[in-house]
Symmetry: C2
Subunit: 297 residues, 2 copies
């Protein structure tokens, strides 16, 4: 199994990153395709992979969602309830199936988690939680490099941190839950609340602390409900100066020493971390998903 | 592999249930041993299994904790930070190791979850969450009949539902977190708050609703963070009349239709349920853990 290539797609809301990689992960070709309707962008995706310089042995896809990621489901790889025009019911197998090779589909956040696990801040962990806080909030949890799921991928952005209206009068902007985590800390919520992004508010300790406290609710729940070896927080909001420190501080306060384990270092500085791969996490994870597909055959 | 027996232990804080079962699960002998120090009760345990009418092929143990349940750990099967006199550092292999057969150790809540998955209210599920609400609060999550874990078993009783002091002035009684879930809804907390157990308060809808709302915080988190096919709530507190209905109602309100899946029926009556095996769940799960041990060899 030394010749052949892996086809990888990181499918995001604004662009698809498509890559061809050798089995060792080295990328031999790469392109960006603007996300439009499937009818508009799938042909570009097909054309890129059709021009591969060697046979494609498997595909790995890390995609925006919601999408069916249960390999046992007849709708595996199909977009479900997304409001994105044209995407509900679209399926990656529609564009990749004609290659006749195995396809593994997972979520974008699980893909980034896998990337960080393989080559980034999650290296060496058995159980890893990777959270992205950007236009939305999502978490992927890996066990031995594979994403956990139940009947669907997780939706942790919608947990409810418990807002104290006397301290934080902003009612939240999630259309389903108002003040769930995503409704309080995602990028659009922060702009709606303060008129600017969190990185512009880094000098305002109270604001950083407020957002950090909400995120710490997720962090503490992750510890108690998944016991990961490490927590990674990425995405645009997580880059705000001082935020990761606030998350560490508030998580430690919440747990209050109850979980005794050397992984949880006193200041949580090695336990709660930022990503290392940056924009490459997703495509790195997608290539690894292609490797999963190869191993299954 | 048709002869031989499985040795099973359900180790609780007040008693050990020990059983000898055929591989098909039929119990051929069973005893109760009062939980004292390991030095006092381990010899009784050893004597029971030494008198087995056929060779023992494997042991399954479902135990109170905290206990190391990571098979890869050198301390597998060892009690860790329990305040119970004599138990810290005690190990099931101390009493069972001399039989020279494989031993699988898991928590009591994971054991009960496995029992309900195999023969009770969790039958037919791939991902199952079983929560017990009694003297403490704990949840086990199974995937295909095996308990999930991270660097340790989960500790979901210590999540923080967010108490509104204007509605509920009781500050909670968890020594680590005051008003975490266990500090608000476990049996001792309810007695401390209202002077009686919750089943005596079944006519007081506001009280049932308050406790149900806290438990619904765990239920909603379980959905968003594990996506189980079903949630079981057992234990003494969960038996209070009207409580499971309150949990269903408050969980549905919290999720507010966001998670669309046929498993979540409109009233959550088939999604959030009570156990079916009663007191037999633990030993049934322990026997199944013994089967896991057999499969690993």
């Amino acid at each position: 199994m030394t010749d052949g290539l892996i086809g990888a797609i990181e499918a995001g809301g604004t662009k698809f990153v498509c890559a061809l990689a050798r089995f060792d992960g080295a990328i031999v070709a790469r392109t960006r395709i603007a996300t439009r309707t499937p009818a508009e962008c799938f042909p570009d995706v097909a054309a890129f992979f059709a021009a591969a310089p060697a046979p494609i042995a498997a595909f790995g896809v890390a995609s925006f969602g919601p999408i069916d990621i249960d390999p046992a489901s007849p709708a595996y790889g199909t977009f479900t309830t997304t409001p994105k025009p044209g995407w509900q019911g679209a399926r990656f197998h529609d564009v990749l199936g004609s290659f006749g090779v195995p396809i593994v589909v997972d979520t974008d956040v699980n893909g980034a988690a896998i990337g960080e696990w393989l080559q980034g801040a999650g290296q060496g962990t058995r159980t890893l939680a990777y959270t992205t806080i950007g236009t939305g909030v999502g978490t992927g949890v890996l066990r031995d490099g594979h994403a956990l799921m139940g009947f669907s991928h997780y939706e942790m952005g919608h947990i409810h941190p418990g807002r104290d209206a006397a301290i934080d009068p902003f009612a939240g902007d999630c259309p389903y839950h108002s003040d769930c985590l995503e409704g309080l800390v995602a990028g659009p919520a922060i702009i709606k609340r303060w008129g600017t992004s969190l990185d512009q508010l880094a000098d305002d300790r109270a604001k950083i602390d407020l957002i950090g406290g909400y995120i710490a609710d997720l962090a503490a729940n992750l510890v108690l409900m998944h016991m990961p070896d490490r927590l990674i927080f990425g995405g645009g909001v997580a880059k705000a100066p001082g935020l990761i420190e606030a998350v560490r501080h508030r998580t430690a306060a919440r747990l209050n020493g109850y979980v005794k384990n050397p992984r949880l270092d006193p200041g949580l500085e090695t336990y709660i971390v930022t990503p290392r791969l940056g924009d490459d996490a997703g495509i790195t994870g997608a290539i690894e998903l292609g490797r999963h597909a190869l191993r299954q055959t």
